[in-house]
C-alpha cells in the first residue's frame, strides 16, 4: 500500500457515473467538476457537520422559550361582586395586568352605537363580551402598541388612554386613535356564577 498512490487516486477519483473510463481521470478533469467519491465524502461530511451544529444550537435557543412551570401558570378566578358600575379592577394574570370593567349603561350604549367603518380594527362590541353579561368587559391591559398599561377612563373615547405613545381606546377597548394597531385583547374566560369569572 505504501508505494501505490496512483492506484489510490484512481480508486478515489473514480467517477460516480459508470460512463467515463478511469484512465481519462486526471487532476485537471477532477477540477472540472467530474463528481468523484471524494466529492461525495466532502459533501456528506459537510452536511453532517451543519446538521450536527443545528442539533446543538436548537437546545441552546429553545431553552429561552417559556419553561414548563411558566406555561403551567394557573388560570385565575376573579370575584366581580366588589366591582361597582363605572369602575374597573386590575388583577395580575400571566405577568400582565387584566382589566375587569363594570360598564355603565351609557358606556355600553356608546360602545354598541359605533359604526364598524370608523374602526381601525373592526369588531362589534357584542363579540368582545359574553351575551347577557354586557356590562362586564374583561381585557388584557397591555397596549397593543408597545405593551404599556393604559389608564382607566381617560382619552377621547372614555375607555382607556395609553400614556406612552398616545393611543386612545373606547369603552369596548377598541383602538380609536394613536399608533396601536389592534384592539385590547379579550382573554378566554367563563362565568362560574353571576359574580365570578375564571380567566385562562
Amino acid at each position: 500500500m505504501a508505494d501505490t498512490p496512483p492506484t489510490d487516486r484512481k480508486l478515489d477519483d473514480k467517477p460516480l457515473s459508470d460512463g467515463a473510463p478511469s484512465e481519462t481521470i486526471t487532476g485537471v478533469e477532477a477540477a472540472q467538476h467530474v463528481p468523484t467519491r471524494r466529492d461525495f465524502i466532502h459533501v456528506a461530511a459537510g452536511a453532517a457537520a451543519v446538521g450536527g451544529a443545528a442539533m446543538i444550537a436548537w437546545p441552546l435557543v429553545h431553552q429561552m422559550n417559556p419553561a414548563a412551570d411558566t406555561l403551567a401558570l394557573a388560570s385565575i378566578d376573579v370575584d366581580l361582586s366588589k366591582v361597582v358600575a363605572g369602575q374597573q379592577i386590575t388583577v395580575k394574570w400571566r405577568g400582565k395586568p387584566l382589566f375587569v370593567r363594570n360598564r355603565t349603561p351609557v358606556e355600553i350604549q356608546r360602545a354598541q352605537q359605533v359604526r364598524l367603518g370608523e374602526l381601525k380594527d373592526p369588531q362589534p362590541d357584542a363579540e368582545r363580551v359574553k351575551q347577557g353579561n354586557e356590562q362586564w368587559l374583561i381585557l388584557v391591559g397591555s397596549c397593543t402598541h408597545l405593551g404599556c398599561v393604559p389608564t382607566f377612563g381617560t382619552g377621547d373615547y372614555g375607555g382607556w388612554f395609553c400614556p406612552c405613545h398616545g393611543s386612545h381606546y373606547d369603552t369596548s377597548g377598541r383602538i380609536r386613535k394613536g399608533p396601536a394597531p389592534l384592539n385590547l385583547a379579550v382573554p378566554e374566560y367563563e362565568f362560574l356564577s353571576p359574580t365570578s369569572v375564571r380567566v385562562g
Binding site: P66, G95, K96, L146, G147, C148, P150, P163, G166
Partner: protein, 456 residues
C-alpha cells in the same frame, strides 16, 4: 502602515519571549513605534477615552455583580443595599451608571469626528463597519443594564423595547415570547438580561481589538484627510509614543474630571426619578422615556404613525450608518475641503440634537402656538410634527451623500500633511485648516485634486 517591525529585544528574557510569543513586539509596534499622522487634533483622542471607559465599566460591573441579585423579588432591594450598605457601593454604582452616559457621550463624539473627517471612506470602511457593530452592541448592553435595577423605568422600558420586536409580521410574537421566556417581562427576562449584560462587554472588548487591528492596517486618518504619500511617511508621521500617549492621556484626564463631577456632585442628573420606584407591572409611569442617549432613536420611533414602520425607521436610523461609506460619492475625505458637505454636517448635528430633545417630549405637546381653531384647540407645531420633520432631515442627510459628491466642487486638497505648514512658515500660526490652502500661496495643490473630484 503595518510595515516591518522596529522592535529590538534587548534583555535575554525579551529575546527568549520574542522567539516564542512576540507579544511585546505586538505591543511595541501597535502602541509605541506606531507611525501616527502628526496633525491629529483633540477630536482624535476619544478612541483612547472610550478604551478607558470600557475598562472602567467592566471593572465596576464585575464588582457590582458580586452584590447584585437578578431576581424580581430581590433586584431592586439588592441595588439599594449596594447603595447603602456595601463598602463604597454607592460610588461603584454611580460610576457604573454614569459611566454608561459617558460611554455614549464619547461614542457620539467619536462617530461625528469620523463623519466630519471622512474616516469611514476607502480604505477604512472596515474600521467604520466594526465601529457600527460596536455602537449597536453598546446600545444593547446599555439597554439590558438599565433593566437590572428593576425600577419602574427599567421594567416598562424593557416592556416597550421588547414589544418593538413584536411588530415584526408573522414571527414577531414568537420572538418576544422567546425573548421574555414567558408571557410578559418577568423573572426569566431579568435573569437572561443579567447574563447577557455580563457577557456583551467582553464581546465588545473583542470587537474593539478587531477595530484597532483594522485601524492599524491603513493607519489613522487625519484632519487633512489625505493618505500620506509613501515617500513622506517619515516627515508626516510621529511615533505613537510619546506624542499621542501624552495627548490621549491629557484628554483622558480632562474627560475623567468631567465624569467625576457627575459621579460626585450630581450622580442622578442623567437618570430618571421613576427608576427609584420598584417595578410594578400593573402601572405604567405617566411619561415613559429612555435614557438620554437613546432619545433621538425613540423620537424617530414615535414620529411614524404605523407600529411596524416605526420600528423599521428606528432600526434603519442606526442601519444607515453601516452603509454610509457606500452612500458617500465624494473622494475628498475631510470636510475642511467640502464647504457644502460641511454645512450639511452641522445641520445633521443639529437634527440629531433636535431629535434627542423631541424624544423627551410628549408628542401632542405644542412647541409653539400660532392660533386656536374653532374648538379652542391650539394650532401650531407640536413635537410629533417636529419629530417628523427632523426624522425626514435625518434620513435626508444620508440620501444627500449620494448626489453631493458628484456635484459639489471641493476646495484644493494639499498633497501632504506638512506641505501647508512648511509653505506657510512665519504665517498666522493658527490652525487655518478650514481656509482654502490655495489662498495661502507657496505650494501648488496636487493636480489630481485641483479639480473637483467626481466619479462616473
Amino acid at each position: 502602515m503595518s510595515g516591518h517591525s522596529t522592535y529590538q529585544p534587548k534583555t535575554g528574557i525579551e529575546k527568549w519571549l520574542d522567539a516564542r510569543l512576540p507579544i511585546v513586539r505586538l505591543g511595541y509596534d501597535s502602541f509605541v513605534d506606531y507611525p501616527t499622522p502628526k496633525n491629529l487634533n483633540y477630536w482624535w483622542t476619544f478612541g483612547g477615552v472610550l478604551s478607558v471607559i470600557l475598562a472602567v465599566q467592566i471593572l465596576t460591573g464585575i464588582v457590582l455583580a458580586m452584590h447584585y441579585v437578578p431576581h424580581v423579588d430581590h433586584a431592586f432591594a439588592s441595588v439599594e443595599r449596594i447603595m447603602r450598605d456595601v463598602n463604597y457601593g454607592w460610588m461603584l454604582r454611580y460610576v457604573h451608571s454614569n459611566g454608561a452616559s459617558m460611554f455614549f457621550l464619547a461614542t457620539y463624539i467619536h462617530i461625528f469626528r469620523g463623519i466630519y473627517y471622512g474616516s469611514y471612506k476607502e480604505p477604512r470602511e472596515m474600521i467604520w463597519l466594526l465601529g457600527c457593530v460596536l455602537f449597536f452592541l453598546l446600545i444593547a448592553t446599555a439597554f439590558m443594564g438599565y433593566v437590572l435595577p428593576w425600577g419602574q423605568m427599567s421594567f416598562h422600558g424593557a416592556v416597550v423595547i421588547t414589544n418593538l420586536l413584536g411588530a415584526i409580521p408573522v414571527v414577531g410574537e414568537g420572538i418576544t415570547t422567546w425573548l421574555w421566556g414567558g408571557f410578559a417581562v418577568d423573572n426569566p427576562t431579568l435573569n437572561r438580561f443579567f447574563a447577557l449584560h455580563y457577557l456583551l462587554p467582553f464581546i465588545i472588548a473583542g470587537v474593539v481589538i478587531l477595530h484597532i487591528w483594522a485601524l492599524h492596517v491603513p493607519g489613522n486618518n487625519n484632519p487633512v484627510g489625505i493618505l500620506i504619500p509613501q515617500d513622506l511617511q517619515r516627515r508626516d508621521t510621529v511615533p505613537f509614543h510619546p506624542y499621542y500617549t501624552v495627548k490621549d492621556g491629557f484628554a483622558i484626564v480632562v474627560f475623567l474630571i468631567m465624569f467625576a463631577v457627575f459621579v460626585f456632585y450630581n450622580p442622578n442628573a442623567l437618570g430618571h426619578a421613576d427608576n427609584y420606584i420598584p417595578a410594578n407591572p400593573l402601572v405604567t409611569p405617566a411619561h415613559i422615556v429612555p435614557e438620554w442617549y437613546l432619545l433621538p432613536f425613540y423620537a424617530i420611533l414615535k414620529a411614524v404613525p404605523d407600529k411596524f414602520l416605526g420600528v423599521v425607521a428606528m432600526f434603519a436610523s442606526i442601519g444607515a450608518l453601516f452603509v454610509l461609506p457606500w452612500l458617500d460619492t465624494s473622494r475628498v475625505r475631510s470636510l475642511r475641503y467640502r464647504p457644502t458637505a460641511k454645512l450639511l454636517f452641522w445641520l445633521f448635528v443639529v437634527t440629531c440634537l433636535g431629535l434627542g430633545w423631541c424624544g423627551a417630549q410628549l408628542p401632542e405637546d405644542m412647541l409653539f402656538t400660532v392660533a386656536e381653531n374653532g374648538d379652542g384647540e391650539p394650532m401650531g407645531l407640536n413635537y410629533l410634527w417636529l419629530s417628523r420633520i427632523l426624522t425626514a432631515l435625518y434620513f435626508g442627510w444620508f440620501a444627500a451623500q449620494l448626489p453631493l459628491g458628484l456635484f459639489e466642487r471641493p476646495l484644493p486638497v494639499p498633497p501632504s500633511i506638512s506641505a501647508p505648514v512648511l509653505s506657510h512658515a512665519g504665517g498666522d500660526g493658527g490652525d487655518g485648516g478650514a481656509s482654502p490652502p490655495s489662498q495661502r500661496g507657496g505650494f501648488a495643490p496636487r493636480p489630481a485634486t485641483a479639480q473637483p473630484e467626481t466619479r462616473g
